[in-house]
Subunit: 333 residues, 2 copies
């Protein structure tokens, strides 16, 4: 059955038309059930298409009816449960719109992120995700494509962002700790950038609002192992700490393991509060108390905003582009 000619040429709409003894247009009508076609003719065309194994070219179709969109979702590491949740939410939101999501995992490597953005410009209609490159470089690589940054504020007009407001949540967390009698509270910040994180600022603000000295801080890689090492280091420097707030749940889970290894029982000897509200936090023992943010909204809003930027429907207002976070008390504090 394989063609023995000069090469396996694609089956086009004209081939089907010829086989069915009709014109292109009639084939097109049959395939997109557009009406204006007799039932028997339609069936004949459909049979011919099936027999020839015809499949319309998405490029040709996309070229003329400009109505199919796809978003590029760029994330640093899909295996990180936080990004998984964001990605799942984005997929869901896109499905609702009939959009397609092309996912790129940069594996936390800047070089891959660059490569991805380079290729993405000619593959999707908008870019959404966690980007770490400087804005001007993103702008250069994406060439005018709408870009929605997640959890990162933008300077340029070109971009849009979905931001996290965890101030109230972190405040509640610290109040929760002080109410339980904790006075020496530390934090495990992340170690990616040199400057302290925004979450660290919220922590400081909440501490002083509760009348406590600015807590001691260690920096952790964004991994379970990173959390383990960091807690060990923090406790070595400040053995008097009775509670620790962490940059995110992954780090908190690492801290949980480290605490166990150090013989500190959680929450009796050491209270632990994470950030993110991952489902994973309910699977560990004890279950993680955390400042939970609405990851679903995070992903959904990002896609929504991308859609609005693209279709020209007025973009969301800045206050709609923020997702809140609330304390979710479980077992670790």
């Amino acid at each position: 059955m394989a063609s023995s000619g000069t090469g396996p040429r694609r089956v086009t709409i004209d081939d089907v038309a010829e086989a069915a003894g009709v014109s292109r247009q009639t084939v097109s009508r049959a395939l997109n059930d557009k009406g204006e076609i007799g039932v028997s003719t339609k069936q004949r065309v459909l049979d011919a298409a099936l027999a020839l194994g015809y499949r319309p070219s998405r490029f040709a179709r996309g070229l003329v009816r400009q109505d199919t969109f796809s978003v590029g979702l760029v994330i640093p590491d899909l295996l990180n449960p936080f990004f998984t949740e964001v990605a799942a939410a984005a997929l869901d939101a896109a499905r609702g719109r009939g959009w397609h999501v092309v996912v790129y995992d940069t594996g936390d490597r800047v070089e891959e992120e660059r490569g991805t953005l380079e290729v993405i410009a000619s593959q999707v209609d908008a870019v959404v995700g966690y980007l770490s490159l400087p804005e001007d470089e993103i702008a250069r690589l994406t060439r005018g494509l709408p870009v929605v940054l997640i959890d990162r504020k933008h300077r340029s007009e070109r971009f849009s962002s979905i931001l996290i407001d965890g101030e109230a949540g972190v405040h509640a967390a610290i109040r929760h700790l002080t109410a339980a009698g904790h006075r020496h509270i530390g934090m495990l910040d992340h170690a990616e950038r040199s400057e302290p994180s925004v979450r660290h600022e919220w922590f400081d603000a909440a501490m002083s609002a509760c009348g406590l000295d600015s807590g001691s801080v260690a920096r952790a890689d964004q991994s379970v192992e990173g959390g383990e090492r960091a807690l060990q280091e923090l406790l070595a420097r400040h053995p008097d700490l009775t509670a620790v707030f962490t940059f995110n749940d992954i780090i908190a889970i690492g801290a949980l393991r480290a605490a166990r290894r150090l013989g500190r029982q959680v929450p009796r000897d050491l209270a632990l509060i994470g950030f993110d509200g991952l489902r994973l936090g309910t699977l560990v023992e004890p279950q993680l108390t955390t400042v939970a943010l609405d990851t679903r909204s995070l992903g959904a809003l990002a896609v929504e905003q991308a859609a609005r930027l693209l279709t020209g429907t007025g973009p969301l207002h800045s206050d709609q582009l923020t997702v809140g976070a609330e304390l979710r008390v479980r077992e670790s504090a």
Copy 2:
């Protein structure tokens, strides 16, 4: 700055050509650095393109140079860590090929799977993933698209599969348990289909190979909660069980929680062995002993096979399409 004309017409290559005072072809040469162009001209074109915000149409480009491919990855639930790992592996493999992966999460709903396949046929060049629809329906919806099924054997020539061979691994698991003195070993199978799973068959075979009676079995939904309920039910019916093998790690983790709640200490009072080898298994306490399969290969092979089917390079042989599984002893058994 917004155009006030009849509508926001797309900026085409001809617009850039006109602005730079050259021809289309020269613009094309500049953008794809093809050579045969003077440096000053090239710069002028690039400047014009930037100024106009020009971005080549992926459809037009794809139509003529037929060299960009994309795979559709269909999974039931991205939030299930197993599928996350498979997806991550697939993304990685695709990146190596320069392929694009369009991800669809059907949320475990057959109706969504149908809808996805319907739309996918005109959006990607090949489909890989976990599909639950009957083969003839998949064939009808995908219209001749290469399809690679993961962990599901195929009948039709149209399809290809990546299979899991866990026989040796499960055998090793049961031997491990018997060596530790266990005689009453149960299993938590999944509850999706009516017939017993292949893993169940491996379990039975391993049991009889070790000279044990076929173990008692309960069925569990593929979730932590499902595992909890199922273990509780299983132990209620068979209190004498000292070890349990589960369909997968998620169920095992549920079993872990149930065991704790029931006052059975793992592994002292109850040994637990899961299946899949999820990273998640190292985060729980005690760390999960499991029959680990190479999820990376699973996803990678699926993409590899899809690529071969598409490019005509001989498809992989059936023995290359199988990934093995090996016992990974951690703490729960």
